[in-house]
């Protein structure tokens, strides 16, 4: 069971690398000054990320941290301004559009809301088979019905769902269809962008189990992007914490959630409401002041310093690199990562105590 992989905390390096992003910069474009030309606003700035075959990398962060931009750049919905996205040895970022489209079948995506990300006018079968229209040769025409039925079974739906339209299905069932659609191209990597966030809590667990089962069965890798730390902690082998376009901390799920070293990670973990919280002990959490600055004008030095409770003079000057530091076992982008974690939070200690 791959789902248990994060318990074994296998040394990263045994499995083949599927995706490697280096120095990735992506974002949106704005009309330039006086309406001439275009100005690039990087939402993701200088990001490094590695996903290995059959493993799950979780990306957590709040809105505006660039996690969705990262997802869209990896699947090619937006161009990368700089850096490389290496997939199976080819740099996707520099491929021309047409060649890039051919690679698309290996990197698929599951969106947050299945009702908006699947065309409501199509039947379930048409939604699943659309990829075969685009990439002929994956499934012969006369085998398509059987293949649709097989995929439906794989995601826990029944063959008769093939003829339905999406509005006849529940949210959870639609998300299963979206997963089947992604799997239809037999990808090696599926980017899940908030894929369970829109679901009811009892259904969410079903979909998370399904994703784990599919990974065990098919060896597909996930880049699992979510704002929900509990979900990421559950499903991810490795975790990257993003803040304002950069990764501030990276490691195995156990390292990041059990021994968070970046002040932002610690604040984030303590802010997540847990069923073990009680009204009177809310005071123990680290509450960050203010809100995330605009990616168009990030602070100098450490991007987190404007909200950081540990910020010092040096933070405004030097950009902290994402490296393994003295006293840490995993890469942290903070000058004070080795600082005393005595002020540690309820959430931090609770999970490291396990």
């Amino acid at each position: 069971m791959t789902a248990t992989a994060h318990d074994t905390a296998a040394p990263a390096g045994d499995a083949e690398v599927v995706l490697r992003a280096a120095g990735l910069e992506a974002g949106y474009q704005r009309p330039g000054r006086h309406g001439f030309g275009r100005r690039r606003v990087p939402v993701v700035a200088g990001l490094d990320l590695t996903v290995r075959a059959g493993r799950t990398v979780g990306v957590v962060g709040e809105s505006g941290c660039g996690k969705s931009t990262l997802a869209r750049a990896i699947v090619g919905l937006i161009p990368a301004f700089a850096g490389t996205i290496e997939f199976a040895g080819t740099d996707l970022a520099s491929l021309p559009r047409r060649r890039r489209r051919r690679v698309a079948r290996d990197v698929q995506m599951v969106f947050q809301d299945p009702y908006t990300s699947l065309n409501p006018r199509m039947t379930v079968a048409a939604v699943i088979a659309e990829g075969w229209r685009v990439h002929p040769g994956i499934v012969p025409r006369d085998r398509e019905d059987a293949e649709v039925a097989r995929l439906l079974d794989l995601v826990g739906l029944r063959p008769e769902h093939a003829a339905r339209r999406l509005h006849e299905l529940s949210g959870g069932q639609c998300q299963r269809v979206a997963i089947a659609r992604a799997l239809a191209l037999r990808p090696r990597l599926i980017v899940c962008d908030e894929a369970v966030s829109a679901l009811d809590m009892s259904v969410r667990a079903q979909i998370l189990n399904l994703l784990a089962d599919l990974q065990a069965e098919l060896g597909v890798a996930y880049l699992f992007i979510s704002h929900d730390l509990d979900v990421v902690r559950h499903i991810a082998d490795e975790v990257a914490v993003m803040y304002l376009g950069t990764v501030v901390e990276q490691g195995t799920a156990e390292q990041v959630f059990g021994d968070p070293r970046h002040p932002y990670t610690r604040a984030l973990l303590s802010a997540v409401p847990s069923v073990r919280d009680r009204p009177d002990d809310a005071a123990r959490e680290i509450v960050l002041e203010g809100e995330v600055p605009s990616p168009a004008a990030p602070p100098s030095g450490c991007r987190f310093r404007t909200r950081c409770f540990m910020a010092a003079e040096r933070c405004a000057r030097d950009v902290p690199e994402l490296i393994v530091r003295e006293g840490t076992a995993h890469p942290v982008a903070c000058h004070f990562a080795d600082a005393d974690t005595g002020t540690d939070t309820d959430a931090g200690t609770a999970s490291s105590a396990r």
Binding site: R105, S117, N119, R133, V134
Partner: protein, 292 residues
Amino acid sequence: MSAIAAAPPQAAAEPRRRRLPARAWIGLAVVGLFVLAALLGPVLMPYDPVATDLPHRLLPPGSRLGDGSVAWLGTDQVGRDMLTTLLAGSRVSLLVGAATVLAGGAVGLVAGLVSGYFGGWADAVLSRVGDVQLAFPSILLAILIAGVLGPSVTNVVITLAVTRWVVFARVVRASALATRDLEFVDSARVLGAGHLRILVRHVLPSCWQPLLVAATVQIGLVMVAEASLSFLGLGIPPDQASWGATVAAGRDYLGSAWWISTMPAIALAAVVTGVGLVGDAFRDLADPRAQL
């Protein structure tokens, strides 16, 4: 107190079946009658522009003719039966209305899809051309073109299509623009789908409905425009009946034979109103929020 008075979150209200209001049925009846008349009328009562009958000229509605038949709507200044003339005119109106909307709609659809979906310079050019054209009174433009082309049914259709495509292009562009950014289009892109596939399979289907609504509204306006051109002698050639031309012909007899101008005018007003009612109903069905 808008914090409290704000609309409550989405109600789990039952999807209510929307029904056509009574006035839409009236409109449908008028339009149906008109289409029927245009299709069958000239078959039953063939129109012959040179069949003048001077002894029976300028007879009021309901007069009995020499051959024992009754001219229900009277006769005109050269003794032709008004009913026959109207029926023949209805065919021209329908033909011009439908052909213009089809031609203008087709051009507008393509232009709107291209400029809405791709954006960029194509959009800039098409939109500016449209702006310029809309800023110019369309009847003046039509008079200009029709004057150059000369009177014929085909030329009227071309003239009116040229003045109308912008309206369709705008409607389609708006839908394409809205659909382009929907998530299921992104989802198709992630599959690796090309522009053509996305346009045809994902963007086009959401443009049909607004296009259809625009078309029903435009048909009425086009018929009025055709009548105006014909009234001015720039539209339908004199050997064919046209409501506009008939109104023009009756101008000199307004004092003595009011029915020559009045009958086609009433017919035109009734049909255009009917089409308008149907168009409104279509729009409301498509978008219940626009009802106010």
